[in-house]
């Protein structure tokens, strides 16, 4: 905390010594003043006693002189009295108050001032004037002879010299006091500095070191509170050091594998860049991502997944030199930094070694696991000048490798960046596509495979890009899923579908019993069912009018959440369809675990019908299984009569494909529905095609 402006900064030593100075000076000053006061009182008392002694003596010897009119002797008495120190005057007065003998010390300041002012030495008036002065003590003694008062002796004693002496003593004592106080303060300060300030300064210095992240301890010189403070500080500094080491480890190393993490990796890359620049050498970065690691986690459990990550890190480390760096960037991503790589050939050899090592079968928790990986390779300075650029390019290359097939390693090329830029541009365009009205719904009718009657339609999304033309959903849907844009787009699709269906119904176009809508895994979240219900209520769409097509990828996510969401949808009453069955994992356990109403056979299986025996067997098996599970089956991609005949013959419930109807725009589909209503179109064409 900073000291507020305007506040005087006083050090501890200054504050302490000021306090000591104040206390010492105050105490000693009070003591000295009391001593001075006592001394002054004592000397004043002595002065009075001296005056009494003189007075008694004069009053004793004077009667004879008075009786003998020996005024010269009286004068001598008063002169002798007045010659005494501090006596201002000595006067013998008659009983009537007339001065018989007076001696006044005209050198006394009191007298001198009044003689000068009065211009005369009238004794009576002079005495009257000076008697009232606070510095004068007047004592009177009767002069008695045979019990007859002959007069009185009055002596005036000046406290001037006492005051002067007191002032002198005060000055001397103040000087002595100042010297003593200064000496004591200096001595106390030196002791304080040695015993308190120095240890505190050591603590401050050590604290600053610790504050800068440096380890520092202070020497413990005493067993007092400061010693205990120093001891506590050292303990704290040690704790801080351990904590810092721990934080450093946590910040720079991966807790699972013990390998450097992304932060440390970036630091190592930066260091290597600096060194490589100095020595004009090249180095290589290998961005490794395990393929299908998620399925390992899902199928074998996270513990095995973690075990695989640890084993992978160890394997990679094992085939590298000590100077090389292996880091875990997060998830299933690893980075290998190899300095002093001469050329691409050398880097390629290293990549091959990495692929081979990672791909070797290993036993994890008693199960044999074979891991594959994709590797993106960059070279410095060929593929980037900075750590961030190198990392980004290596990441890009890794994705290209992953896209190209498992277990491969690819060098980064500028084309990759071009593609990346294209992808980013498309992402930006997609952001505006909804607002600009570039997205549109198309509808591909679905027919009863046996009767040929139109039953509904699958809702398809089309993007009419102003420059690229019609963009395939296969290109922009994955992008929208990757960027999360699919949530907004999917919601728009859902609403448009509900609105159209409702509009058609209100127009008396009842030909479409349902609309099948594809739901992305990203879109498939908890509040999806609530949103769907709201739309259905808003557009008065009954549950049976909506069929949600969900791909197997949705089921790969958290089973508990997926099951809950599916149950919610089922509670809403909509039909659930498992899309693209057979292309993914096609795990039968999904069918057992999650309840679906419809299976959609992917077009890749339909295309080989009825000639390809394996496709025939597979489709038959799917249809048999669906019957067994009481699932309806939709075959998509039906493009020939033979395919349609085979499917209808095998009991397939529904069919869709170019043979039956091309996807059509909203307006076209509306007209199609109108013709259905008019009875112009039933499924005559289908029937004729089915019957040949």
């Amino acid at each position: 905390m900073r000291v507020p402006e305007g506040m005087l900064r006083l050090g501890l030593g200054t504050k302490f010594i000021l306090t000591v100075l104040t206390i010492l000076a105050g105490t000693m000053a009070v003591n000295n003043l009391y001593s001075l006061y006592s001394s002054a009182r004592f000397h004043e008392k002595q002065l009075v006693e001296r005056g009494h002694a003189l007075g008694r003596l004069i009053s004793l010897v004077s009667p004879e002189a008075i009786l003998g009119f020996d005024f010269l002797l009286l004068n001598e008495y008063t002169r002798q009295v007045s010659a005494q120190p501090d006596v201002v005057y000595g006067v013998i007065l008659s009983p009537k108050g007339a001065p018989l003998s007076a001696y006044i010390d005209d050198s006394d300041p009191l007298v001198r001032a009044r003689i000068n002012a009065a211009g005369s030495s009238d004794v009576t008036r002079l005495l009257r004037e000076i008697d009232a002065h606070p510095e004068l003590i007047q004592l009177a003694f009767p002069i008695v002879h045979n019990n007859v008062e002959l007069g009185r002796f009055v002596v005036g004693l000046s406290k001037h010299s006492l005051r002067a002496e007191s002032r002198r003593q005060l000055a001397l004592q103040l000087v002595a006091l100042a010297l003593v106080v200064l000496f004591l303060c200096a001595a106390i300060y030196l002791v304080f500095r040695a015993n308190v300030l120095f240890p505190i300064k050591s603590l401050i210095s050590a604290s600053r070191h610790v504050g800068r992240g440096e380890h520092a301890l202070v020497e413990i010189k005493s067993n007092d509170e400061l010693g205990q403070l120093a001891s506590a500080f050292n303990a704290m500094a040690e704790e801080v050091r351990l904590e810092q080491a721990k934080l450093h480890r946590q910040a720079n190393f991966d807790t699972l594998t013990g390998l450097p993490n992304r932060l440390m990796a970036m630091d190592r890359i930066n260091q290597t860049i600096s060194r490589a620049r100095r020595t004009s050498q090249r180095f290589a970065l290998f961005f490794i991502d395990l393929d299908n690691f998620k399925s390992v986690n899902d199928s074998l459990g996270h513990a095995v997944g973690d075990e695989l990550l640890v084993a992978t890190g160890a394997r990679v480390q094992a085939i590298l030199r000590d100077a090389d760096t292996v880091a875990r960037l997060g998830g299933d991503e690893f980075l290998v930094l190899v300095p002093d790589v001469i050329n691409e050939l050398q880097a390629e050899e290293i990549a091959e070694r990495l692929v081979r090592s990672i791909s070797e079968p290993q036993l994890l928790s008693g199960r044999k696991v074979v891991a594959r990986c994709s590797i993106g390779i960059v070279l410095f300075p060929d593929n980037g000048d900075t750590a961030a650029e190198l990392m980004a390019n290596a990441d890009n290359a890794m994705y290209q490798a992953k896209a190209g097939g498992h277990g491969s390693a690819i060098f980064f090329t500028e084309d990759m960046n071009t593609r990346l830029r294209d992808r980013m541009q498309m992402e930006q365009d997609l952001n505006q596509a909804l607002e600009l009205g570039q997205l549109a719904l198309h509808f591909q009718p679905i027919f009863d495979a046996v009767t040929g009657c139109h039953r509904g339609a699958e809702v398809l999304l089309r993007w009419q890009h102003p420059e690229r033309g019609s963009v395939s959903p296969a290109d922009f849907i994955p992008l929208a899923e990757a960027t999360g844009q699919i949530v907004g787009i999917g919601d728009w699709v859902l609403e448009q579908a509900c609105r159209n269906w409702s509009h058609w119904r209100q127009s008396g176009l009842v030909g479409a019993e349902f609309l099948a809508i594809n739901i992305s895994r990203v879109q498939f979240r908890k509040r999806f069912a609530r949103r769907l219900s709201a739309l259905m209520a808003q557009y008065n769409v009954p549950p049976h009018a909506l069929e949600l097509e969900i791909t197997e990828s949705v089921l790969l996510d958290d089973h508990q959440n997926v099951a809950e969401e599916l149950n919610s949808l089922r509670a809403v009453g909509v039909t659930l369809s498992l899309d693209d069955f057979g292309t993914g994992y096609s795990s039968l356990s999904y069918l057992k675990r999650f309840r679906f109403d419809v299976l959609k056979i992917d077009r890749s299986f339909v295309s080989g019908l009825p000639d390809k025996p394996e496709d025939v067997l597979l489709v038959k098996a799917i249809l048999a299984m669906a019957k067994g599970l009481d699932l309806r089956v939709v075959a998509e991609g039906v493009e020939s009569h033979d395919q349609l005949l085979f499917l209808s013959g095998q009991g397939c419930d529904y069919a869709q494909g170019y043979l039956l109807a091309m996807p059509m725009s909203v307006e076209a589909y509306r007209m199609y529905l109108e013709t259905l209503v008019a009875g112009a179109v039933r499924s005559a064409s289908l029937r004729s095609r089915v019957t040949g």
Partner: protein, 257 residues
């Protein structure tokens, strides 16, 4: 050599020892200085003629003139003679001696003081005032009488005419406030006398020694020690005025006491 106790015995010894030594040296015989504790013992010694040489006041000399004869007199303040006088305060309104009737008069010394008592009484008597016509007070010395007059403790003071000129008086009081009211004829100062039975030749030798003291520094030192400016030759007839006044005041052959 006897010296009247005008001063304390120690002081008297200090003052007159140089003169005694001088006389011893000049006479060729030992001169012993004798002091008296008080006037009574001094007067007894004079009556008993225990002194060969004696220095005393004029009244004492007149009283003892049957046994002693004057050979010299003191010169004081450079003067051989001095008058007796009465002094008053200027603000008293007293301009005539007769105005002192019923007043208090202080005299500087005892009743045997020539200038301070006998001469002022003589003046009062000349003005027709007897001893009962005024109240008498006695100061220790004439200067004290002057001080008492100044302090208004008396209406008049008796003393030698030089009283107000005396340094001790001038130093003690403001003499400008006083003035002399009346004075007598001039009277010779204090006498030096020798026993009449002393051989005349010796009397003369003594006179010669003491009246010639002013010729050298040593002699001046002797005179200064004795607080006199000189010693001059004198004879009995020079003290006849004193005798007349004493007789007038006390009556012939009457002691003042």
């Amino acid at each position: 050599m006897g010296i009247f106790p005008r001063n304390k015995p120690g002081e008297t010894t200090t003052m007159y020892t140089p003169l005694a030594n001088h006389l011893s040296a000049r006479l060729g015989r030992k001169v012993v200085l004798a002091t008296a504790r008080d006037f009574d013992s001094f007067s007894r010694a004079v009556e008993e003629r225990r002194y060969d040489i004696v220095f005393y006041n004029q009244f004492h000399y007149i009283q003892s003139s049957k046994s002693y004869t004057v050979i010299a007199h003191n010169e004081e303040f450079g003067r051989s003679v001095v008058a007796g006088a009465l002094f008053v305060r200027k603000d008293s309104g007293i301009t005539e001696v007769s105005q002192l009737r019923g007043r208090t008069i202080i005299f500087g010394g005892g009743r045997d003081a020539m200038l301070a008592y006998i001469a002022p009484i003589f003046l009062l008597m000349q003005a027709g005032l007897g001893e009962k016509d005024f109240k008498s007070e006695f100061a220790v010395t004439p200067p004290n009488a002057a001080v008492a007059l100044s302090l208004k403790l008396a209406d008049a003071a008796g003393g030698g005419e030089i009283l107000l000129s005396l340094p001790v008086v001038k130093k003690t009081i403001n003499t400008d406030e006083l003035r002399m009211l009346a004075s007598t004829e001039p009277l010779l100062f204090l006498p030096w006398a020798v026993k009449r039975s002393m051989p005349a030749k010796l009397q003369e030798r003594i006179r010669t020694v003491i009246v010639n003291l002013d010729s050298s520094d040593a002699d001046q030192a002797i005179l200064a020690s004795a607080r006199t400016t000189g010693i001059r030759k004198a004879q009995d007839k020079d003290y006849e005025p004193h005798r007349r006044m004493i007789n007038a005041v006390f009556g012939k052959g009457v002691s003042p006491k």
